[in-house]
């Protein structure tokens, strides 16, 4: 029971990181980007590639299974993932934005997600990979609840990012511009905001958070080309649950989805775990389509 709580919070915080990026891009760019989850996979594999090139020249920092090289690799991967997101926007979404039918761009994102997944499969192969083979001993936190040091690290990073992003959206000019753009793009432009610049930063932030989510997933589970595919439903469930555009809502939504998945395994066979976010999604759309905290970019009000 307690272990399910710990596992749920852990996978929930990874879902939350991906969902923050998705909710921001959905709130600001106004379309459901099905390729967002593939940015998580891409980020995770880019970190693996950088790690492979630089090598683990510095040993892990006890008690974690990783050291400075992985942190460095994550930063480089965030840049590479941002570049991919910007390239996709330029090559695929920008021409599609001219179309009056909103669904065109959504279907475009389906195509992009397939393409990215297959490219990863082609380059890295389908077998599971790991950042580190170091064995870790789980630390008992409470009686009946054991957590790996890497998992504690994951929770800490998520908390720092959520607080930092909240500060960024509330206190900086770019954050304010993002919130203004999410509410009314035309009024934002009339007020002198170059919305193209704000859109580019939105991609960079979304892609960077996706990278961190991907690395943390790879660290606590394993790297597979299907990471993104398995995350699509949980991410959308978290975003819809929290209200599109609502960063704080995405975090709570992510935790709820993560916890629901891990507790469901106690009741139903593990094979049905993947259906849990789907049920949550349907329930939210039926009962409260605007999400628990309906809102625009910037968090709960």
């Amino acid at each position: 029971m307690l272990q399910a709580l710990a596992d749920g919070i852990l996978s929930g915080s990874i879902i939350a990181l991906g969902a923050i990026g998705l909710t921001l891009t959905m709130g600001i760019l106004r379309f459901a980007n099905f390729a967002h989850a593939e940015l998580v996979t891409w980020g995770a594999y880019m970190a693996l590639a950088v790690l492979g090139l630089t090598g683990a020249f510095l040993g892990p920092i006890a008690p974690f299974s990783f050291g400075i090289p992985l942190i460095f690799a994550t930063l480089v991967a965030a840049v590479l993932t941002s570049l991919l997101a910007l390239a996709i926007d330029w090559l695929v979404y920008r021409p599609l934005r001219q179309h009056t039918n909103h669904l065109t761009i959504v279907f475009g994102s389906f195509g992009v997600s397939l393409l990215v997944r297959m490219v990863i499969l082609l380059i890295f192969g389908g077998a599971a990979q790991y950042y580190s083979r170091t064995l870790q001993i789980a630390v008992p936190v409470l009686p009946g609840m054991r957590i790996l040091p890497d998992q504690l690290f994951t929770l800490g990073i998520t908390a720092i990012i959520v607080v930092g992003l909240h500060f960024f959206l509330q206190k900086t000019r770019l954050g304010l511009a993002m919130r203004a753009l999410a509410e009314n793009p035309e009024l934002a432009r009339v007020n002198g905001l170059d919305t193209r610049v704000v859109v580019r930063w939105t991609w960079v932030i979304g892609a960077s958070l996706a990278t961190v989510a991907g690395v943390l997933y790879g660290l606590t589970v394993q790297l597979r080309p299907e990471i993104g595919f398995h995350l699509i439903l949980p991410l959308f469930a978290a975003v819809i649950l929290g209200g599109v555009g609502n960063v704080f809502g995405a975090v709570i939504g992510g935790l709820i989805v993560g916890l629901a998945e891990s507790f469901a395994v106690l009741i139903v066979p593990a094979g049905y775990k993947m259906a849990v976010p789907f049920i949550i999604l349907l329930a939210v759309l039926y009962l409260r389509p605007t999400g628990i905290f309906a809102g625009s970019v910037g968090g709960a009000k």
Partner: protein
């Protein structure tokens, strides 16, 4: 005669190039002049000022401000080109606080200057100061209009364009908003506004243009437009008859 501040020459504009709404309208606005556009629904009044503001694409014609060609400038550079535009509906960011609304309006300015002008704005619109940390959605229609005008003034524009500033306001609020606009013109700002409330708008503006079906119909000093029987027939006949 000096060149007017705003010159609009034979502008054709519409959301889609194959479906123009404005069919070659010309007008001008002088320095510190208050000009009203009236006309029946579908006359292209709002579309014209959106086209000048860069929100609706212009397919032919020319727009110049102070002699500088501003036709097809990107919307976000209009504020720097000294034009401010206040839309009719959704003219404030309701999810942002009053202060944040003003910060968005001042985002092209250096931080210290932005802060100075925002404080100045609060002095001119003291009612806004009490709400500065409240979300703009709590404001009434009149207060929103004041906030939108205060925000438009932050970049110190030479011309402010307003789309139906009196829409949805109580008669008392309408006269307050119009008195504000009149006071603004006295400080040297030019105003171009679209109005359905023709009577009140004609009473305070210097000149008036009457549009119908995307074309110029009549223009002249507001006083003579108010007395022109032709104007009433344009409204009643929905612009069907030729002059």
């Amino acid at each position: 005669m000096n060149t007017p501040l705003l010159e609009v020459e034979k502008v054709v504009a519409g959301y889609r190039p194959d479906l123009p709404i404005v069919h070659g309208i010309s007008l001008n606005v002088g320095e510190a002049e208050m000009v009203t556009i009236i006309g029946p629904n579908g006359a292209g009044k709002s579309t014209l000022i959106k086209a000048i503001a860069g929100v609706v694409p212009i397919s032919s014609g020319r727009v110049a401000l102070g002699g500088r060609d501003i036709t097809r400038l990107p919307t976000h550079t209009m504020a720097a080109a000294s034009i401010a535009y206040v839309p009719q509906t959704a003219n404030v960011f309701t999810t942002l606080t009053i202060n944040e609304n003003l910060l968005v309006g001042a985002s092209s300015l250096p931080k210290a200057e932005a802060q100075r002008r925002i404080e100045l704005g609060y002095e001119n619109f003291p009612a806004l100061k009490d709400y500065r940390h409240k979300k703009a959605r709590v404001l009434s229609g009149g207060q929103r209009q004041m906030l939108a005008v205060a925000r438009a003034l932050l970049t110190e524009p030479r011309l402010i364009m307003l789309d139906e500033p009196s829409a949805g306001l109580s008669p008392l609020m309408v006269s307050e908003v119009f008195q504000r606009l009149k006071a603004l013109v006295e400080t040297g700002v030019a105003i171009l506004m679209v109005e359905q409330n023709a009577k009140a708008a004609l009473a305070i503006s210097h000149r008036t243009y009457v549009f119908a079906e995307g074309r110029n119909r009549i223009d002249g000093p507001s006083k003579s437009i108010a007395e022109d029987p032709e104007v009433a027939s344009i409204y009643l006949g929905a612009g069907g008859r030729k002059r």
